[in-house]
Each structure stands twice: as structure tokens, then as C-alpha cells.
Symmetry: C2
Amino acid sequence: MNLSKTLQEYFNELSSNSPTPGGGNVAALCGALSASLGTMVCNLTIGKKKYADVESEMITQKEKLENYQKKFFELGAQDNAAFEKVMDAFKLPKETEQEKDARSKAIEEATIGATTAPMEVIQTSKALLSILETIIDKGNKNSISDAGVAVALVGTAAKGAYLNVLINCSSLSNQTIANELKKTADILVGEVIHTSDRIFEQVVKAVESK
Amino acid sequence: MNLSKTLQEYFNELSSNSPTPGGGNVAALCGALSASLGTMVCNLTIGKKKYADVESEMITQKEKLENYQKKFFELGAQDNAAFEKVMDAFKLPKETEQEKDARSKAIEEATIGATTAPMEVIQTSKALLSILETIIDKGNKNSISDAGVAVALVGTAAKGAYLNVLINCSSLSNQTIANELKKTADILVGEVIHTSDRIFEQVVKAVESK
């Protein structure tokens, strides 16, 4: 992810008909936004007398969140690169039988490659959720709604990445690989959605009873 | 929303312990990202022979999406401003009884004001969903996963804004106003979550059967 771009530039590129950034990149961005909001809650907890007993834990969680944010940025960039590789494969010559075979093989390989970043987005979302749960439990209660937004974002990161695994699988010739990838993604995304919905409901109740 | 900021600057400010931007701003940003992805799908449909019969409709939907994107940017800025107004009210003097009363009144008014932007984020999310449903139905099928990410983002925009309505209501003295606001938000967010989940499932099925 090129972080030196302005928000305006990012939104212009996203809205345009250029292939990247697209939904896969936005899924990773949601993960980064979630990690960032989690970091904010840690920063609003660290140094507060009331939360002195969880200070060292918050510092540890904050470091993890900063690493996850970086990870999501990397996955966003990887998603763009993988998609461009698929597009390049489609542009290969297809005059002779040999060229047609080489092109099909390149498309297949690039498409399998394009499932790696979204699959990692789902996995990283799952790991991020467990940190957010700790922060909601122990962090500054005045920022619990921010942590709740972070939880909802994780759900969208995973759901968005899941669609990107599925759409790549749908165009694979190798059905064995496609089914394996789909099965792994199904299980993972199911876990993330279930957990994020559960934690979100907890946050709603906590906010209502404040 | 200050769109001339770089992504790096936005993320740094979000992660920091400064009160804004926070979860409410990110909720509005999710709405803008959703509208932007929807615009991308329109742009990938307009001008394509295969979709010539829906071209004029896609142009209409695209214009609506561009307006919604702007609306979400405005709501993000409003959310920041409203939160800062609450913070300012808390800083008012509280030496005399008169000052205490004036301060309490200012906090109450600013807190009610801080529910306006998130409530509008939920309303605008609902309106955005119906456009996304049309685009999923009629737009470029190769971009259906991008439209699906947009649908998931709408859910997070509404959920995030909902938490911001709730947290402001929880600190209001006027329980009648708090209950009315909560009731409106409950109904609206329920509709948005239900519809976005339903459309997301449709997109999953459509991608799987591609």
C-alpha cells in the first residue's frame, strides 16, 4: 500500500476503472483501519491512573496491533501486485497451441497466487480479533465504541477477502485446488464472522449499560 | 474529511491518542469506501458492449454514488467537529453553581448534536445499499466481488455509526431524547444489517456459481 498517496488520490483510483486498487485492497485497508483504531484505544489507556494495572499488557497489545497494521498494508500491496500478474497473464500471446497452453498455465498460476493475499487477510483478521477482545475487556471504557468499530471492520476485512478467494477459485481449472482453497476460506471466514458478531454484540450491551 | 492528507497521516492521527479522528469518522469513511467501490463497478460497466442496455441506468447510479461519497466525507468531518464541541463543553469553567449549570447544559446539547452525524451515516448507508443492489443485479459480473465488498462496508458503516449514537445517548441526562434516538437508531441499523447480510449472501452464491 502506497501510504504517501493522499486520501483524495486513493479514492480517485479506487473509483476509476483501473483494475487496482479494488475490493481486495479495500479488505486489507479495513484490517489496517481496525488495527489502527485498536492502537488508538491502547494509547487512550496507557498512562491513565485508572488503568495502571493493565498498562504493561496494553503496551504489549499495542505493539502487536502496530505489526498487524503493517501486515495489512503489505497484504494490500500484495493483492494489487497479484491481480496485476493475472492481468499480465491474460495479455500473453495466444496464436499457436504452445502459446495458448503457456498462457492458460500462466493464468492458472497467477490466479492461484491471487488467493494468497486474501487468505492471509482472513487469517490476520482472526488473530486481530483476539487482541481486540482483550482491549475491549481491559482497555479504556470511554473508547469502547471505537474498539467496537474496529471489531466490525475485522468482519468486513474477512468478508471482503473471502469474496476475493472465491472469485479467483471460480476461474481455476484445477477443481481440487479450488475446492481446498474454498474449504479453508469457508471455515476461516465463518469463524471470524461468528466471533466478530459475538464481540460486537457484547460491545453494544456494554455501551448501553454505561 | 480533509482529503489532502496522505494515508500515512490519516493512519497516524487515527492511531494516536488525539480524540479525532475516531470510530465515528471511520464509520463515515467506510461509507465513502463503499460508494467508491460501487462507482468503480459502474465505471467497469459503462462503455462495455455486453452491458449497453443498462448503460444509462449505470450512469444515473454512478452520479448518485458520487454524491453519496461526498455526503459520507461531509459526515466524517461533521463527526469530528461534533466530538470536538463535546470536548470543548467539558472544558467550560465549573466554579460557581451558575457555571456548573451552563456547563452541564452545554455538554448535554453538544452530546445530542454528536448523534446527528452518525444517525445520518446510518440513513445514508441504507440508501446506498439499494443502489448497490441494483449494481449487483445489472452491473459487470466480473466486478461482483468488488460490489460485495461495498455491501459489507455499508454494514460496518452503519454498525460503527450505531455505536456512536449509543455511546452519546448513554451520557445524556434527558432520558426521553436518549430513548427516542436509540429507538430510531435500533430500527435503522437493524434494517441495514439485515439487508446487507442478505445481499452479501446473494453475492457469495453468485460468485460461487460463476
